[in-house]
């Protein structure tokens, strides 16, 4: 179904999508002399799974940081749902429906799993200073949040860890917890930074299902990943970055065969014999 959405989209970098949720224009970020991100134009189609791939140091995570407000670009504009996101702080970006996870998981070690989950819920009356001391003002909302959190924990098979400290989870479980916690925010768009890194193969399959499930719920997913199997299996559209720029776009099969992509990953001369003269 969603493959059809891309039927008329040309496989060129910066191609226009029929219904983009996220549009970035000439976003550039340099650290001293190094240009980490230099994206001319990119659009992310609503309610699809888009993968952002590229060799190490391509600027994928930096681009993520820029989009979510954790870093500021030197120049550039980008919009989410048609609203400009320039200078919007990370917490406001999250409130507008753009929630991210981190490459190095940030599970809150000295808080229990369920507390980690409850934290994700937005618009909590109990989070305001003047209502917080009075439990009767937030008790009902807290119960509803807990119910939602428990349902999510069950879905992510973390319900047996409910009252354990976040710090006692394994690396893979932390990835799961972080994704589940991001869903507590009820975001329109979920941005996952290497969700598969350090996850064992058995858990990987269920994580894949969870990511697919996000699309079925009507959410948009943008994820950074090195695992090509995952990209092939769940991505509807792949954006390839190298040296800060977007060098290719297209469905997984197209991108895998693209010469620019192969060159970026393996070098342009991988089949030519250099240096050895007959």
């Amino acid at each position: 179904m969603s493959a059809d959405v891309f039927a008329d989209v040309p496989c060129v970098p910066g191609s226009l999508k029929p219904d983009p949720i996220l549009v970035a224009d000439s976003v550039r970020r340099s650290f001293g002399g190094l240009v980490a991100v230099d994206v001319e134009h990119v659009e992310v189609q609503r309610n699809t799974i888009t993968a952002l791939i590229g060799p190490n140091g391509a600027g994928k995570t930096t681009f993520f940081n820029l989009l979510t407000g954790f870093d500021e670009p030197n120049v550039g504009t980008w919009t989410f749902n048609g609203v400009s996101m320039n200078g919007v702080s990370p917490y406001k970006a999250a409130r507008r429906g753009m929630v991210r996870t981190f490459q190095l998981t940030k599970s809150l070690s000295r808080m229990t799993v369920i507390e980690n989950m409850r934290l994700g819920a937005t618009d909590q009356a109990g989070e305001r200073l003047w209502t917080a001391p009075f439990k009767f003002l937030w008790r009902d909302q807290e119960a509803a949040i807990t119910e939602r959190a428990e349902a999510l924990l069950e879905r992510f098979k973390l319900d047996h860890m409910r009252d354990e400290f976040g710090g006692s989870l394994s690396g893979g479980q932390r990835k799961l917890l972080e994704m589940a916690r991001a869903l507590m925010v009820e975001p329109e768009m979920v941005m996952l930074d290497e969700p598969m890194a350090g996850v064992n193969p058995a858990l990987k399959q269920s994580l894949l299902e969870h990511v697919k499930g996000l699309k079925d719920e009507g959410r948009t997913v943008l994820f950074v990943e090195h695992d090509m199997d995952m990209v092939h299996e769940i991505a509807d559209w792949v954006v390839v970055m190298a040296e800060g720029q977007i060098i290719a776009e297209g469905p997984p099969a197209f991108v895998g065969a693209d010469q620019a992509v192969i060159d970026a990953y393996l070098g342009a001369h991988q089949n030519t014999d250099l240096g050895v003269t007959p």
């Binding site: 999250a94 940030k106 934290l119 994700g120 439990k135 976040g166 710090g167 006692s168």
Partner: protein
């Protein structure tokens, strides 16, 4: 011996212990719950103490009218410290707070401000309203505490002080069990995670700094009222470090921690002081003079206390009430 113990008991519940207890409750909000490295709690206490003494001396205010001054002055101090530093890494807050506390202390010690702050002698005779407010059942009596007699004034200040300790402990308890407290703890664990979930981290950190600062301000207020003197000597950097020792001793991030920590800390300080004084006064059991004598035992006491704290953090790093399980996770 019973003299020593009753001194220790008085030390544990006396005005100084109360003042440090309040400062520790405030510091626990900063450091224990929010992870803010405030090394200037002495500055907040100084602001609170002088906010009581200065209006009474300079403008003949009623001492009760200075309560809002304590709140406003400590809050303003917190805002001044927080606005430039809370967006930066936590180390910067530590540097700025320790410097600001010292700047304030040196400022009030300036001879040029003799008429306003009393310079190094400080401000005396601003406690008449407290003296006059001693309730009838206490007036003119001394309260016996084992072998120690407590004057009516001291007893009254202790009652007011413990009331404040109870009040602020309840406030902190009510806040920290709420989702608001949960956000603070998440900031302590990882503020970027809190940001990514839509929490306005800066605002929460600022609120925490103000709240803990105001509680610390009341600690300073109780201290100067109890001592009937507001002078810069009470608010040296060691005030902050002893307050940290109390927080760690009691258990970081626990409501009971600062209360029990302050009582135990001042019990040990007073008992060792009393014992060592007894053992160097020239009669009865005496320590060899090559270890210490009556002129230097009070320094020796701090060595003992320091050694004891070192043993504590090695063998029971979670403090008295801390959760061993929590401590097991290496944070940062």
């Amino acid at each position: 011996m019973s003299q020593t113990l009753s001194n220790g008991l008085f030390g544990a519940i006396g005005v100084v212990a109360i003042a440090y207890c309040l400062a520790a409750i405030g510091l626990n909000v900063h450091f224990g719950y929010t992870g803010l490295l405030n090394f200037g709690q002495a500055g907040f206490a100084l602001v609170g103490g002088y906010a009581v003494a200065m209006p009474v001396m300079n403008w003949q205010w009623s001492i009760w009218a200075t309560i809002p001054v304590v709140i406003v002055a400590s809050s303003v101090f917190a805002l001044l410290l927080g606005i430039p530093t809370l967006r930066l890494r936590s180390d910067y807050l530590a540097i700025v707070t320790i410097a600001a506390a010292e700047i304030l202390r040196l400022l009030v010690s300036t001879p040029n401000l003799k008429n306003v702050t009393g310079s190094t002698d400080g401000i005396n005779s601003f406690t008449n309203d407290i003296q006059n407010s001693i309730p009838g059942f206490l007036k003119g009596r001394t309260v016996p505490l084992w072998e120690k007699n407590i004057s009516d004034y001291e007893m009254w200040v202790m009652m007011l002080g413990w009331f404040l300790v109870a009040l602020f402990s309840v406030v902190v308890w009510a806040l920290m069990r709420s989702p608001w407290g949960r956000v603070l703890r998440s900031i302590r664990e990882d503020e970027d995670a809190a940001r990514s979930l839509g929490k306005n981290v800066f605002a929460y950190k600022m609120t925490s700094l103000v709240l803990g600062g105001v509680i610390g301000g009341f600690g300073g207020a109780i201290l100067v009222i109890g001592q009937r003197n507001a002078s810069p000597g009470s608010f040296q950097t060691q005030f902050t470090f002893l307050t940290y020792a109390i927080v760690v001793l009691g258990g970081v991030g626990k409501v009971k921690g600062p209360i029990v920590g302050a009582m135990m800390f001042w019990f040990l300080i007073t008992v060792t002081d009393s014992l060592l004084a007894d053992w160097t006064d020239g009669s009865g059991f005496q320590l060899p003079t090559w270890i210490m004598d009556s002129s230097n035992f009070s320094f020796f006491r701090w060595i003992l206390v320091g050694g004891g704290l070192a043993l504590l953090v090695i063998f029971r790093p979670q403090g008295i009430f801390g959760d061993k399980k929590e401590q097991a996770f290496d944070v940062r």
